[in-house]
Symmetry: C2
DNA sequence: CGGGATCCGTTACGATACTG
DNA sequence: CAGTATCGTAACGGATCCCG
């Protein structure tokens, strides 16, 4: 389809001529937080064939959405990095994701392919609402991956890696976390039976779960 | 692909499982302004095969994005209409289009498939900027299609059909209009050689072209 | 005539194997 | 590790035919 254009003089059609192929937008998603290597992309995209991945990367490079560069020494490894044009897809990816998160509830459970997609999912949810009254720095440890969450009363920032001075630590696995985020389980019951282990400031922990309770609330209204 | 799921627990992937197929999002675009018949869709989508269109419509119906209904008497014709879930794609379609309009400049010229896509393109462009100081109601007659544009100092509203009390009339064809919107030609020169014919309040006409000049300006900055 | 369904050649995708 | 090559399968595209 990369070569199979819709031939329509329309912003949407011209965009889809470039990003409408299967896998393409997921590749962009993986690259949005920063450059990645071929192997990382292959691992993050469940079951994409290597030939297809390399073809998509070449198409995206020709379309000017990404560049194949080499990390500075001593790394010296080839990576794929979005150009300004590619990064410009951020808002579009966000809106599509926001529309899509409502299906997570009904989806037969699957674990996120990687912590990045988990971060993106939570960010997208959190970005929909004001966060007055919530203020804390959290260390989320999901299935061994460190995630840092900084809520500053206005917005919540999610990133890979452990925060320096967390108010609280939340240690759990994908499944219970997703259940809570979706509202299929309450934090209290999962904490009680040990599926979620918390430490540090109890109020900070509460504010984390409160965030997603609000997000769900605002979604059911607008949907 | 409708059945070929990415299997990723991620908002973007779940969304693309539903709208990632070829043609699907263009069908949604056509239905966003209102219900349409099978034949209208077939005509609006350049060269989609009828079997593919009917399959997409069935998939979209099963996914709950649209409904097949019958217009009230005396029309009594079957139409396809977006559900609330389908209309929820509006912001996503808008963001993708906004990313895509930048390619209209370089695209080898093609005429819009239909006035609706032209309206969407102009709406998307106009929605990016504040419109202080611009205030007018315009009757745009493009290639025989009536388009109404109401600019109220805050936003510009585009719709099919002629306005009741236009301040001005702009009569032209797709090509010169697109050239002006893209900045490849100035309104003055096209008015001078008769490719654009104007009538009514000259200030209102100027405000229309000024709108797109501002839109282009804001795009080159943010891009 | 509008609204599809059927058939068939072509293209894209997916899995595995293989190479620099 | 980072891809390329090969090949079977599924989806797409165009035309034609069917049915109310």
């Amino acid at each position: 389809m990369a070569n199979r254009s819709y031939g329509q003089y329309c912003g949407l059609a011209l965009a889809l001529d470039r990003i409408g192929d299967r896998w393409t937008l997921l590749i962009v998603r993986e690259l949005l937080p920063g450059p990645a290597r071929f192997g990382e992309l292959h691992q993050a995209l469940p079951g994409i064939a290597t030939n297809l991945l390399s073809r998509r990367l070449r198409d995206l490079e020709e379309a000017g959405l990404l560049e194949r560069t080499t990390l500075p020494a001593p790394a010296n490894v080839p990576v794929y990095e979005l150009t300004a044009l590619g990064r410009g897809l951020g808002p579009a990816v966000r809106e599509i994701s926001l529309w899509g998160v409502r299906f997570m509830e009904d989806a037969e459970f699957r674990r996120p392919a990687n912590p990045r997609s988990m971060i993106m999912g939570m960010s997208v949810l959190a970005s929909t609402l004001p966060l007055e009254g919530l203020d804390s720095t959290l260390h989320l440890l999901v299935d061994g991956y460190d995630i840092s969450i900084v809520i500053d009363g206005e917005k919540a920032a999610f990133s890979l890696g452990a925060p320096t001075e967390p108010d609280a630590l939340i240690e759990t696995d994908y499944e219970p976390l997703v259940a809570v985020v979706n509202g299929r389980a309450t934090p209290d019951e999962l904490i009680a039976d040990g599926q979620i282990v918390i430490g540090g400031d109890a109020d900070a922990v509460v504010s984390f779960f409160e965030l997603f309770r609000r997000a769900r609330e605002s979604m059911t209204v607008s949907a």
